[in-house]
């Protein structure tokens, strides 16, 4: 494989130059790099039409360093990680390159020796802690297995020694009561705890390099903060290097020293985080930062990247980003860009920089005019004009004490033994033409609240007032007529459309079902106009959902909701399954639709950056109840509830000197079946007092709009 690699690299000229540039970059750790990757090339699929998912990657990581590999889905970052571990899926193969770990070439190692390194000198943790542990093995046994594989035999023969080591590892990753927890099965642990166990397994072999593939993407932000902090601490204690694979710019800014940006199987920019976040050099990197929603961009549209990532089963003559690039030069289509040094700590693969450092800077500043500086924090207050409450406006929709409980049934006769209080008394007010963001972590009941409000779940109690009527009590036939006004968009654009229906029928179904447009020809016209409006094009009508990308599908879902001309759309995490550049497209569309048609959104999300860009009002939910609500500037700029403060401070920011004080929460959210006494948050609250366990605190009105459910002494009212 190594000989082959040499031949390949001889052919691919630019890569050789790339290696040189990267070498210069990593000058700091030039002598003792833990990992050095050169010209790595990985293919998937049949030999006839191979897909080159990783195409000439060079990386170098020094001991104790964290290098982030950043990119959107499909860019090849996970395949790079799996190539390094030699754990590619069936059909995947490394066709060229060299991977050196501590000076030893890995690609020519026999599988048997590679196995000793795997989980030993190099370990890996994965994105999905929920499915990454064996469900039928106790967690102690799963950690012990890793210990036995990598410790020398004499020691591991003593099972007491192994048990001690397992408990030491579990304690090191912050699992409380490790003796007892070792006896648990994975399903008895929360997602954050499972990821800690995964880290314990990775640490069992005392690795010099930890590859973390989206380690916190599936976790809530407060849990993400705990896990990232743990990783940092472990790294400080052991001096291991970390290759952090992520799509989250905030996570990169908070945890990495250097980063490499991947696009379509290649690295297009390598830089220290300081240099990168101050001034990204590659047009793609710049667009990524610009497409992040922030409060400062509220007034305008977010930057978008037109088109899609190119298919990787072709050969490229020029720059892979050229067709989507707004700074494209004539030569970009025909010349493959080589590495250019922007500064000591920043290299970029872009022709704009070929004439020297100043050339690219000129290009960058030309753009910077219409773009908010990346330095601005997501929490900065929004312009006052956008916040001015519409005084005297009657709320369009209002819930009072909305409750949605689910019965827990047990035993032979399915007796009801308790309730999961998913939504437990929520008061929300949605004004006409405004966006109310309902914010909270997974399991807090925000999605159920959205469904209860539309009566897609029958409320257990409370009122939902819309147009002078209580939706919760409305007769089914009258509720059906009102559905025209109340629509919903779901999180997963892949699962929320019937795969056997044509797009035209999906979008037009509501018009037909509610009897709004009975004539087929007129219905088609309206559907065509809707599809044009969401930027899909009328020709999509005769196609099926699988022919569209995630972002396009979400547009179609928006067209479907728009078809019946609703006044309220509940948006349930509509962008959380999408990449940031695609998320920007959807947010722009939602915003322009609101301006054109005056639609109100109840925007359910866990993404604070999206809230800061889109919402006028914010309600924060915890364990089925609201803890704080008010105008977006008050909630994000001046949060008063300890939970809101912790939630906001856990959001990773790309602003290096935001200077925010991090409030770390310990533990996990309790079960909504057995909420704690008094204030539901008090067991995790950093400022809890004895009286917090007595009764759920009344709402404290800080001003006309900002209210918080906490003790007046604590919020300082």
């Amino acid at each position: 494989m190594v000989e082959q690699a040499g031949a390949e690299r001889g052919v691919a000229g630019p890569e050789a130059g790339a290696a040189g540039a990267a070498g210069a970059a990593g000058a700091a750790g030039a002598a003792g790099a833990v990992l050095e990757v050169r010209g790595l090339r990985t293919q998937l699929g049949g030999a006839a039409r191979p897909v080159t998912v990783v195409d000439g990657i060079d990386l170098r990581i020094a001991p104790g360093e964290t290098l982030a590999l950043l990119g959107e889905s499909g860019c090849g970052k996970s395949m790079t990680a799996l190539s390094l571990m030699r754990l590619l899926p069936l059909g995947g193969r490394i066709v060229a390159g060299s991977v050196c770990l501590g000076g030893h070439e890995l690609l020519s190692l026999p599988e048997r020796e590679m196995r000793m390194l795997r989980g030993g000198r190099m370990a890996m943790i994965f994105q999905e802690p929920q499915t990454s542990l064996n469900p039928v093995m106790r967690i102690g046994a799963q950690v012990a297995e890793a210990v036995r594989v990598h410790e020398d035999m004499d020691r591991t023969r003593a099972s007491a020694w192994v048990a001690d080591r397992v408990q030491e590892l579990l304690r090191a990753v912050g699992i409380p009561d490790p003796e007892r927890r070792a006896e648990d099965y994975p399903h008895q642990l929360s997602g954050g705890m499972k990821q800690r166990v995964m880290i314990a397994i990775a640490l069992a072999g005392n690795p010099r390099l930890l590859i973390a593939d989206e380690p916190t993407t599936a976790l809530d932000v407060t849990i993400q903060a705990q896990v990232l902090q743990l990783l940092k601490r472990v790294q400080r204690d052991t001096g291991m290097a970390v290759l952090l694979i992520t799509h989250d710019l905030g996570v990169v800014a908070e945890t990495a020293e250097r980063l490499a940006v991947m696009y379509a199987g290649q690295i297009v920019e390598q830089a220290s985080c300081a240099e990168f976040f101050a001034a990204p050099a590659h047009p793609y990197s710049r667009k990524l930062l610009e497409s992040l929603p922030t409060a400062a961009k509220r007034g305008g549209q977010l930057a978008m990247i037109p088109g899609r990532v190119p298919a990787l089963d072709q050969s490229f003559a020029g720059c892979r980003f050229a067709p989507r690039c707004d700074r494209v030069l004539e030569s970009c289509a025909t010349t493959e860009p080589d590495w250019q040094a922007v500064s000591q700590d920043q290299q970029v693969r872009c022709l704009l920089w070929r004439a020297g450092p100043s050339s690219g800077v000129a290009a960058a500043s030309a753009q910077a005019a219409d773009v908010a500086q990346p330095g601005e924090t997501a929490m900065a207050p929004a312009p006052a004009s956008a916040l001015a409450p519409k005084l005297g406006a009657e709320p369009l929709l209002r819930t009072e004490g909305l409750k949605v409980w689910f019965p827990i049934r047990r035993g032979l006769f399915k007796r009801v033994v308790g309730h999961v209080r998913a939504v437990d008394g929520v008061d929300l007010t949605l004004n006409a033409g405004e966006t109310l963001a309902l914010v909270g972590e997974s399991g807090c009941g925000k999605t159920t609240a959205g469904k209860g409000l539309l009566r897609l779940e029958q409320p257990t109690g409370g009122r939902v007032t819309y147009g002078g009527q209580d939706l919760a009590q409305l007769a089914p036939a009258r509720m059906r007529r009102l559905r025209k006004d109340l629509q919903i968009i779901f999180q997963d654009p892949f699962a929320s459309m019937n795969p056997r229906m044509l797009i035209g029928d999906i979008v037009g179904e509501g018009l037909q079902a509610l009897g709004i447009e009975r004539q087929a020809a007129r219905r088609r016209e309206r559907v065509a106009a809707l599809l044009e409006r969401v930027g899909i094009g009328a020709e999509a009508m005769t196609r099926y959902p699988h022919e569209f990308s995630g972002g396009q599908r979400q547009r179609i879902c928006i067209a479907r909701a728009l078809a019946v001309e609703p006044r309220v759309i509940v948006c349930d995490e509509p962008t959380s399954a999408l990449d940031v550049s695609v998320q920007a497209q959807i947010l722009n569309l939602l915003k322009s639709l609101q301006q054109d048609f005056g639609i109100s959104y109840l925007f359910i999300t866990h993404n604070i950056a999206v809230v800061s860009y889109l919402a006028q009002q914010v309600a924060v939910m915890y364990l089925g109840r609201l803890v704080e609500q008010g105008p977006v500037a008050d909630i994000l700029g001046n949060p008063r509830h300890p939970y809101t403060q912790a939630l906001l401070s856990a959001v990773p920011s790309i602003d290096p000197d935001s200077g925010r004080e991090q409030v770390r929460l310990s533990g996990d959210m309790p079960s909504p079946a057995q909420p704690p006494s008094g204030c539901y948050f008090h067991p995790r609250c950093p400022v809890a007092r004895p009286e917090c366990a007595q009764a759920y605190p009344e709402a404290v009105h800080l001003d006309a709009q900002h209210q918080v459910n906490c003790l007046p002494e604590i919020v300082g009212a």
Binding site: R118, G119, T131, S132, P135, H187
Partner: protein, 304 residues
């Protein structure tokens, strides 16, 4: 786990009562007069009346039901019409043969199917996989009423290695075991392969690989136990079928088990014996499936 176990057993008890009631009603669901059906239309009225009284059919239905249930508790299933022996005794005499054949066939099936399925899954798409699955298709396609006679022809008549039929000594067990076992092995091997392939794609297998485990540790410690659940379900259903008497195989080899007893009883219109057999077979299904559920509880901690 205790509460769940109790719930499963409680549910099984309810099903058993339902099965008993259905079997009781069986006699009354026969179109026309059951006594006439048993004795034929030409029977003398006096004989009919005697049989009716003997079976208790002259009493009101609730009384009959009560007597039937009370009889069940005493293991009294009535008497055979042919030789006047208690049905329970007739069944008890035949049941060991069926159990013996079932266990032998099951053991053979597992011995063939487990390695075959595992090999096929590990060498997916290779020649070993094709060969194993080819055997499996063959095993599924060949019916027992053809395989049995062919085995008799080859091993008993031509080679003279085994007895033709009956149940005398261990050697008579070989051919019926082969007949039943290979069919079951074919089905099981497929299930083992499919189930393993699915599990081998799971994230936790990737985790185990990333730990540096060898492929065999991966397979035996991580994959097989997770793959066991669908295999167990299939095994439970098949085991119930076998214990209820493999009617065709037992008939071909004149194996004195429940299957051939049932066929004989139906042919001879020996209703009490047939009723007893049906009751036993149904109960076996309930018991085996309940046992499968309990095994689930033991294997998969998530079910608790």
């Amino acid at each position: 786990m205790g509460a769940q176990l109790a719930a499963r057993l409680g549910a099984a008890a309810v099903v058993i009562l339902g099965v008993c009631t259905l079997v009781f009603l069986l006699l009354h669901l026969v179109p026309g007069d059951p006594v006439e059906a048993m004795l034929g239309e030409s029977a003398r009225p006096a004989d009919q009346a005697a049989l009716r009284q003997h079976l208790g059919l002259d009493q009101p239905l609730p009384v009959q039901y009560w007597n039937y249930l009370a009889g069940l508790l005493r293991l009294d299933l009535g008497q055979s019409l042919i030789n006047q022996r208690p049905v329970a005794a007739v069944i008890a005499e035949r049941f060991p043969a069926t159990v013996q054949l079932t266990l032998a066939a099951l053991a053979l099936a597992l011995i063939i199917a487990l390695p075959l399925g595992v090999l096929a899954a590990r060498h997916r798409g290779g020649p070993l996989d094709s060969a194993a699955m080819g055997f499996s298709v063959l095993g599924l396609a060949i019916p027992n009423f053809w395989l049995g006679p062919v085995l008799i022809l080859v091993f008993s008549l031509w080679l003279g290695w085994t007895p033709v039929s009956g149940r005398e000594g261990w050697s008579s067990l070989i051919l019926p075991t082969l007949t039943l076992g290979t069919g079951l092995a074919a089905l099981l091997a497929r299930m083992v392969r499919a189930s393993l392939l699915e599990v081998l794609h799971e994230d936790y297998i990737r985790t185990a690989r990333a730990k540096g485990l060898s492929e065999s540790a991966l397979l035996w410690r991580h994959a097989l136990r997770n793959a066991a659940l669908p295999i167990l379900t299939l095994l439970g259903l098949q085991l119930g079928g076998l214990l209820g008497g493999a009617v065709i195989t037992e008939t071909v080899f004149s194996w004195p088990g429940i299957g051939s007893l049932l066929v004989d009883a139906i042919k001879a219109r020996d209703y009490p014996v047939a009723q007893g057999c049906v009751l036993l077979i149904s109960l076996i299904y309930v018991v085996v499936n309940t046992l499968t559920d309990v095994l689930y509880l033991w294997i998969d901690p998530r079910v608790q």
